[in-house]
Symmetry: D2
Subunit: 381 residues, 4 copies
C-alpha cells in the first residue's frame, strides 16, 4: 500500500493506517504523505518508511512505483486527501495499473466520478470507497435480515447523522479539519451533506437495498459566516415509493457521531446506531423485541456478520474494526484476483465505484433540491 496524504498533521490518514495494519495482510510500503515536503519527509520517518519510498508528490510515487518489479511494488494506493484532491491521484493510479482505495465522497464532481468509473471498466482494476459504516457487523446483519424478508416489505426509512463539532466557527480558529470541509473549493458543492449526509444516504441504500429516487431538501447554514450547509433535513422517496427522512447536522451541539438508522417493514422495524454498534434492535409487530449482538459466535448471526467479526460477543469491536473490515475484504479480493480465483461475495462486500458515483449524485441532487422551490426533485445520475 502507498498512501497519498495522511501526513502527521492529518486525521484520517492515521485511521486508514490502523485499519490497514490490523489484520496483518497489508503493509504500508511508500507514501506521498503531504504536499509540504518537510512534513512528507518527517511523516515517512515516523512511519518507518524507507527514504527512497518517501515521495514528495503522488505523481512521483506512482511513476516510480510503476517502474519497480512486480514483487516489490505496491498493489494499491490509498487516497486520504481532501475531496478536491481525490480525482487526480486516483485517475493516474488507475492509468498506471494500480488499484485504489479512496476516501468519500469519491471525487469533487459527479463528472469526475463517472470518469473514474469508465477507467475502471476499461482497466479491470478495483476501487474501494471507505464508507466506513457499511463495515460494521451489525449493519451487515441488518442488511441480511432485510434481504431475507424478515421485516416484510419495507415501508419507511429514517436515517440521521448528527454531529456538533462545527457548532462554532472553528474553521476560523485554526481547526484544519473544519477549515477544508467548510471551504467550497476543497470540499465541493455541499458541506454537511457531502461530509456526512453521503454516509447516511449510503447506509440507507446499503441496508435496505433500495435507492433514492426523489428528494425534498432543506439545507441550512446555522452558524453565520459559512458558505456551505452545516445542517440539512431531506424528505426522501425510495424505489416503490417508500418514504424516508434523512437528517444530517454538524451543528447539533453536544452530539458526537450520532449516526442512526431505522427501517420499518410490514412485520417490524430495526434500529442501529454507530455509538452502540454491536447491538441491533429488532422490534416486532407481534412478538417481543429482539436484540441481536455482534460476535462471531452470536446467536442468530448471519454469514456476513460472522465474516466481519474478530472477537466473541461481548468484547466490543468499534469504528476501527469496521474500517479494517473494508480493507480486509478489499485485500482478500485483490489476493483472489492475483491468485486468479473468483472473489467470494463476502470478499466483494466493500463499497466501490457504484457507491462512489451515487454518492456524488446524491450531493448534486440534494443541493439542487435545496435550491428549488418545488417540493420534489427527481434524483438524476
Amino acid at each position: 500500500m502507498g498512501m497519498v496524504g495522511g501526513g502527521k498533521d492529518a486525521f484520517i490518514g492515521a485511521i486508514h493506517r490502523i485499519a490497514a495494519n490490523m489484520d496483518g495482510l497489508i503493509e504500508l510500503s511508500c507514501g506521498a504523505l503531504s504536499i509540504n515536503p518537510e512534513i512528507a519527509k518527517e511523516s515517512g520517518k515516523e512511519l518507518f518508511l524507507p527514504e527512497d519510498r518517501t515521495y514528495l508528490t503522488f505523481e512521483e510515487m506512482i511513476k516510480k512505483e510503476s517502474q519497480m518489479p512486480a514483487d516489490k511494488r505496491i498493489d494499491f494506493i490509498t487516497i486520504v486527501t481532501p475531496n478536491f484532491a481525490h480525482y487526480a491521484p486516483a485517475a493516474m493510479a488507475l492509468d498506471n495499473g494500480f488499484n485504489v482505495v479512496v476516501e468519500k465522497p469519491m471525487t469533487f464532481t459527479l463528472q469526475e466520478a463517472k470518469d473514474l468509473k469508465k477507467k475502471l471498466e476499461e482497466s479491470g482494476l478495483t476501487l474501494c470507497l471507505t464508507h466506513t459504516y457499511s463495515g460494521f457487523p451489525m449493519v451487515k446483519q441488518a442488511r441480511d435480515m432485510v434481504r431475507n424478508g424478515d421485516l416484510g416489505k419495507i415501508r419507511k426509512i429514517i436515517v440521521e447523522y448528527n454531529q456538533g463539532w462545527l457548532s462554532r466557527l472553528s474553521e476560523r480558529e485554526g481547526n484544519a479539519q473544519a477549515s477544508w470541509r467548510t471551504d467550497p473549493k476543497k470540499s465541493g458543492k455541499a458541506g454537511a451533506m457531502g461530509d456526512i449526509g453521503t454516509h447516511a444516504a449510503h447506509l440507507a441504500e446499503y441496508i435496505s437495498g433500495l435507492q433514492i429516487t426523489k428528494m425534498c431538501a432543506d439545507l441550512n447554514i446555522l452558524v453565520e459566516g459559512r458558505a456551505l450547509d452545516d445542517d440539512g433535513n431531506v424528505l426522501l422517496r425510495f424505489n416503490d415509493k417508500v418514504p424516508g427522512v434523512l437528517m444530517a447536522s454538524q451543528v447539533a451541539a453536544g452530539e458526537e457521531n450520532n449516526l442512526k438508522i431505522r427501517i420499518y417493514g410490514e412485520n417490524g422495524g430495526l434500529e442501529w446506531a454507530e455509538q452502540e454498534p454491536n447491538t441491533l434492535w429488532v422490534k416486532w409487530l407481534d412478538k417481543p423485541m429482539q436484540v441481536y449482538r455482534a460476535g462471531a459466535n452470536a446467536a442468530g448471526a448471519s454469514s456476513f456478520e460472522i465474516k466481519n467479526c474478530r472477537t466473541p460477543a461481548g468484547h466490543p469491536e468499534g469504528y476501527l474494526e469496521a474500517f479494517a473490515n473494508i480493507y480486509r475484504n478489499f485485500a482478500h479480493t485483490l489476493m483472489a484476483k492475483i491468485e486468479g480465483t473468483e472473489p467470494t461475495k463476502e470478499m466483494l462486500d466493500f463499497p466501490g465505484i457504484e457507491d462512489g458515483v451515487r454518492g456524488m449524485a446524491f450531493i448534486e441532487n440534494v443541493v439542487a433540491s435545496g435550491n428549488s422551490t418545488e417540493k420534489w426533485t427527481d434524483y438524476k445520475i
Copy 2:
C-alpha cells in the same frame, strides 16, 4: 366532574378517570357515558354513579346539572368522545356555565376551535386540553432549561411520534380505536397527523417556546385501503427561521409510543422520550453530558418540575401521573377561581384554548402542505 363518553367499551375515558381520581381532588359525579343507552347505564353502575345522575345524552346531563344547587352540581365536564363529537358538548357546557376538559384534537374543524375560543373569552370560564405529554415533569424541566437560556439560542428541533399499532388494517377487524381514528367523518381531515402529530407539534412548541411558521409536509397512506394519512414527515420552520423536523407514524411496526424530542441550541442539546420519561439527557458542547432525573428531590430540579412530581427520584412516575398533573393543575386553578384568588403560574400550567386552536390550525396547515406541490406552506391560523 361529569363525563361525556368513556363508557365501558372505550379506552381513553378510563385513563381520564384514573388521572382525575389520583390526587383526591376530583370526584366523578355524573356522566353521559355512551350514546348507547344500555352501555351508558351499565357503565354508570360499574362506576358507582347514582342512577339519577347517569344520563343518556350530554344535553340531558348539562341541562339537569345546571339546574342543581351550586354546592351539588359539577364544576366541569370532561369530553372523551371521538373528535367529531367534541364541539357540541363543549359549546353547550360553556353556554351553561360549566368549565370544560376536552381530549385533543380539540374540535373537528379549525372554525369550531375559534368558536370555542370566543365563548371562553365571553364567559371567563376555563378550558383544559389534555395534551398529556406536557404534563411530564421532565418536559417541564426541559422547558425551564430552554427558557432559562441554558442551551443558548435554539437552532434546531426534531420531534417524532412513532407507533406501530395501525400496521395492519385493524379498523376492518373490529378494533374500535382504529375504526373511528381512520374515518374522516369522525376523525377529521387528518389521520396520524391529527391523532399524534398534534401531540408532537404541541410538545415542540411547549418546550421550545417557539411557534411553527411554515411547513413542508409529506403525508402518506402506507397501508392500502385507508382514507387518511397513517404516516407523515414534515419539514418545519419555527420563529426566527429555526428549522425543524416532525415525524409521525402509526405504521412504524414494532414501535409502541415512541414520542421523542431533541432540541439543539448554541451550547448543547436536550433529549426526552416518553418511553423513559423520568430522564432528561442534556448533551453539552463543552462539558460532559448530564442526566437530569425526575423527582421532587432531584438534583437541579426546576420549580415546575418539582410541582409535578409525587415520588422521590428513582420511583418512576409515568403516563397516568402526567395526565393527572394536567387534571391537578386544572383543579387547583378552578379552586383558586372559586375561592376568588389568583391562580399561580404553576396552577395555570396546563394546555388550554390557545393550544387547542393551534392544534386545529396545525391539522389544517399540514394537510394543505401535504397536498401542495410547493415546498413551503405558510402556517395560517
Copy 3:
C-alpha cells in the same frame, strides 16, 4: 379505608392514598393520622375527612368504627406508621374484625409477626403487606416465565437495592424519614437491611419461587455515628442449594432507588430494575436476547402481567401503579369475600401474612449472620 399514621408531615401515607384512590374502588373514610393532635386534625381537614371521623388515636378509631353500622363503617385499616408502631393497631384491628393493610417490615419483632399470623388464622380476616415491587407488571411477567420453566432450572440469583440518600448523617439535620429509620427503637434490629433489604429478599423469593435457607452477611455502618447498618452484602443459599447474592445500601452515593434483580437458569437469564420497570430483559443462551415490555396489549404478556396494567405498551406505568395494583388486588379479594365468592388467584396476588413473617425472619437472621464469625447461618423462622 381508615388510615393510621400518614399525616401531613409524613411521606408514605400520601403514596398509600394515591394508590388507594387510583382505581376508584377504595375511599378514605376516616383516619388517626398523627399522634400529634394538631397535625391529626389539620391533616383530616386537608383530606376532606368529616370531623367526626378524624380520630386522635388508632384505639379511638377502631373502637368507634367497629360500633358503626356495617354499611357505613370501614372495611379495613391501613397502617403507615414507623415499624415499631405497626403491631398494636394491626392486632387491635384484627381483634375487632377489620382487615389490615400494613407497611413493611410488618412488625418490630418476629414474635409480633407470628402473633399476627395466629390472629389471622383464627379470624379468617385478610392482611396485605405493601411490598410494592411485587406489584409491577414485569415482575409478574418474570415470575410467570420462571414458573413456566422458560429459564430451566434456576442456578443463580443476584438482587440488589442501592440508595444514596443516607450518605450523610441527615438524621441529625432534621430529616424525619432518616431519623426514625436509623433509630433502633423505632426501626428495629436492622437499618438498611430492614428498610430495603427486606424488599430485595421478598422480590427474589417472589419471582423465583425459591426460599432463602442460609445466609452469610456482612453488615456495615459506613457513615460514622450510626447505630444500625446502612449497608450490607449477603451471600445466600436458596432451596436446592441455589446460590445468590443480596446487596443493599443506603449510602451508595448517587443512587436513587436502584433495585435490580437478575435470575439465571440453565437456558438463560432475566433482568429487571425498578428504575426502568416496564422492560424485562431476557437473555437466552442460544438465541438473541428478548425485551418484554409492559402493557395490557404487549406481545408475550402473561395473564398476571395483563391484569396488572392500565395502559397500552409504551405509555409507562410506574411506582404508584405498582402500589395501586396491590391495593386493587386486595380490594377485589375483599369484595369477593363480601359477596361470598372465591377470590381468583389473580385477586389473591398481593403480599400477605406469610411474606410478613418471612420478612421479619429475614431481619432476625441477617443480623444474626452479620454478628457471627461462622460463614453460614441457617435461616430460622
Copy 4:
C-alpha cells in the same frame, strides 16, 4: 516479537497479534506457535513468518533468537499458552535477556509468580501482563477521577464478571477453550475465579488504588461434572476496611462478557461496563449524573484517557484497542529503555509483575476462603 502458542487452533493468540499490529510499532518476527509441529508450521506460513524463524518449541526459539545479532533478534516474547505453560517460557526468556508479555493469570502457582518477580528484579527486564480491561480509556478516566478525589473517600466497591459460555458441559463436546480452562492440571487451582475473577479483582484494585485485605468466598460448581468452580461470589474487605463484593460466573446463561464495576465514595459513585466501554457514568450525591465519554477530544478527559484513545468521541473503540493500548504502552516503555531515556508514567501504564503476583495470590486466597468455614480469610501473599 516472538510468540509462544497462538497457533491456528487457538483463540487469544490472534487477539494478541491484532493488538500488537494495530499501531505499527511491533512486528511478529518469529514464533513457536504450537506444540503440534504440523500446526506450528502451517500457522507460521499463514502468518507470513520466514521458515527459519518458525520454531517448534519455545526452547528452540529462545535459544536461536538469543544467538542472533541485536538488530535482528526480537525484543520480547509473548506467551499465549494455557496457564500451566506460562512459567517455563517466561523464565527462560528472562534468563536469556528477553522481555516478556504474558497472558493472565501470570503463572500456574503463586510460587512461580514470586520466582518470576525475582528474575525481573535481578535482570532489569520488563514484564507485561495482559489484564486487558485496564487498557480501556474510560477505566483510566475512572482511575484518574478516583485518584483526584472527585468521589471523596471510597466507601464501597462492587465488581462482577458474568459470562454464560460454560452453561453446558461444552468441555466434553470438543470446545478447546472450555477444555483446558476446566482442567485443574492446565488451569490451576481455580476455574472461573482464575479465568475471570482475576480480571475483576485487578480492575477493582487498578481503579480504586485500594488492595484486597480479606475475603469471604462462596465458590460453586453449578454445572455437574466439573472439577473447578464455574461460579463464585466473594465478600471483600479492602484497605481502610472498605467493603466490597466480587461476583464471577461462567454459567450465567445469556451473558456475554458482562464485566462491570461500581465504586461509591462520599460524594458520588461511578460505573463502567465493558460492553459499553466508551461511557463512564458518574452519579453525584448533590448534582445531576454526568456521562463521560471516550475520545481524545472528549469533554473532561484526563491525560491518561487521552493517551489511550485513537478516535474522536463517538467513534467507538473496543476490546482490541484496549488490548492494543497495553501493547503500545509496553512498546513505548521498551523503546524508551532502548534509547536510554526514562519512560513516562503514561508509558508505564500497563499491568506488570506486581499485578501478576497479586493475581496469583488472589487465586490462592479465594480458593482457601472458599474451602474455609470461617467467615473471613486474610489475604496472604
